[in-house]
């Protein structure tokens, strides 16, 4: 038998301490329904959905554990990303260097932090320098059997608009003649990331369809 601790929800905050918190105690269904209805739209401004965060997701008809293992190998970026090419390990363990062909011969550094239990794969990246990896691509693989009642994987990918997207904090590390900055592309990330996620889906599904390992032999 387990004992449950008593629940004292929000007991540390005065009753009207955070009026913006809507719970059934302070905003009943009659009062809350119009708020919900007002939030439901036919269309949503791009900026509202993709302004500060960039969520994209898809279903992949391939086994989730294998999709996770593929993604958690940094070299998979060489296959499904649009422009990261020429991955090589650096002297620092776990840190890879590659070229982002979006910027003319721009160096890109990547460290992959993966958690097999949660099946999360976070790519910590930066252009030009490998000291401060501030561009962090957060991915998660979910077993579609659990969430969609069918075999396969759900892959979710998010990205947060770090202030360095707007202001390069390390201008000295940039090649002198380069005009682009990675943040210039933020407004197309929703489409760009979806395109890359579609690549990932197509590659994994091709391998699954043809009996090939999702993580290809060359990565062994």
């Amino acid at each position: 038998m387990t004992t449950s601790a008593a629940i004292h929800a929000l007991s540390d905050i005065p009753d009207d301490g955070v009026p913006s918190v809507l719970r059934v105690e302070n905003s009943d269904r009659e009062e809350t329904t119009p708020i919900i209805m007002d939030m439901l739209r036919s269309v949503y401004p791009h900026d509202q959905i993709f302004g500060d965060f960039c969520p994209v997701q898809t279903f992949v008809a391939a086994p989730p554990r294998e999709v996770y293992e593929y993604l958690s190998d940094t070299r998979s970026l060489e296959e499904w990303t649009y422009s990261l090419r020429g991955l090589e390990p650096t002297d620092e363990p776990g840190l890879w260097m590659t070229f982002d062909r979006l910027g003319d011969q721009t160096k890109c550094f990547v460290r992959t932090v993966a958690s097999p239990d949660a099946m999360t794969v976070d790519y910590h990246c930066a252009w030009d320098q490998g000291e401060h990896l501030w561009m962090i691509y957060l991915m998660r693989v979910v077993d579609a059997q659990v969430v969609l009642n069918k075999p396969g994987s759900v892959v979710m990918w998010n990205n947060c608009r770090h202030p360095f997207y707007d202001d390069n904090a390390y201008p000295d590390t940039a090649p002198a003649d380069r005009e682009e900055w990675v943040g210039d592309f933020w407004d197309m990330f929703s489409a760009g990331h979806q395109l890359e996620l579609n690549n990932l889906k197509a590659i994994c599904e091709y391998r699954a369809d043809h009996g090939l390992p999702i993580k290809p032999k060359w990565m062994d």
Binding site: E30, T33, I36, L40, R41, S42
Partner: protein, 342 residues
Amino acid sequence: MPTLPTVSLLDVASYLPENRVPTEYFTQYSRSDRMAKNVMFRSPKYRHHIARDETAVDMIERAAAPLIDRHGANTIAKVDVLLTHVQLPDNPVLGSGPEVARRLGIQPGWVIDVHNGGCASFVHMMQLAQMILQTTDAKTAMIAAAQNAAGSTFTQTEIRKLAHAPVPGDGCGVGLLAKSEDAPILGVHGRTYPEFAGDMTFEAIPESGRKYWEPGTGQPTIGFTESKITKVFARGNRLVPEAAYAVLNDIGAKPNDVDVFVTNQPNRLFLRNWHDALELPAEKHPDTFDECGNLFGAGIPVTLATENEAGRIKNGSLVLMSAFAHAGDYAGAAAVRWGAGS
């Protein structure tokens, strides 16, 4: 294949019952001050209610009167297609068409009562009339949408207390169509969604289990089950822009080519969401919500007639109509190169 003749929407006219009811009529029955405040905020300022003895046939006859004034009795006498849609039939076993024809003194070869177009019935009837005019010898059609469920069912003692009771209003709109190039229907699109059928209820409150023709104490009303309301809202958010875009696509036009966008008007949120979806400014999306409430199938023609009579729809304008019916089981849209202006 021979080219089909062009059909025009030559004119629209409307009728609103004399009894103009302010929202206070309903809030006096609200359960609480808080609910009354809520109802005032969300409801139209006014709506019109039919008189107790007023029939849908009366409404259609009155709505058609301006057409006779403007086009002459001779033109109306030649109507050979009559389509009617009545929200709450005067007599559930028959359509209103024959009696409307008798009142108007016309002998149409085609008389059809259409009951499944709901709030999109005007577009539904435009599509049907267009087909009949294009494929038979018939030359002139009258279509009529009468909404009469407000003053009748929504004023019952148990129903008028409900938060949504002030939203419906009564009214009637008619359209005159003909084989003509004067105000061409450029495109019309209609689609039934069987997967959304059956979510609209006509039940007695309090629930009694009786059939509507059986005696009993419950007061019959139309509505949705509470759990379906957000589902219906989400469907409406999707269906009306989809139907509108389908027609625009068919005629090779873009939203910014549209001069006037007219929809059904269930509430203010839908109106906002729909012109947002077409990226049109609110000024291009007139409505009669604050004066008339939710006019169901009469919404489109009443708003068109109101705007046209005020001179706000110039001839040559691209007028786009779109609406969804019931809980989403039908949606339709039509585009007309306006020609009914003065």
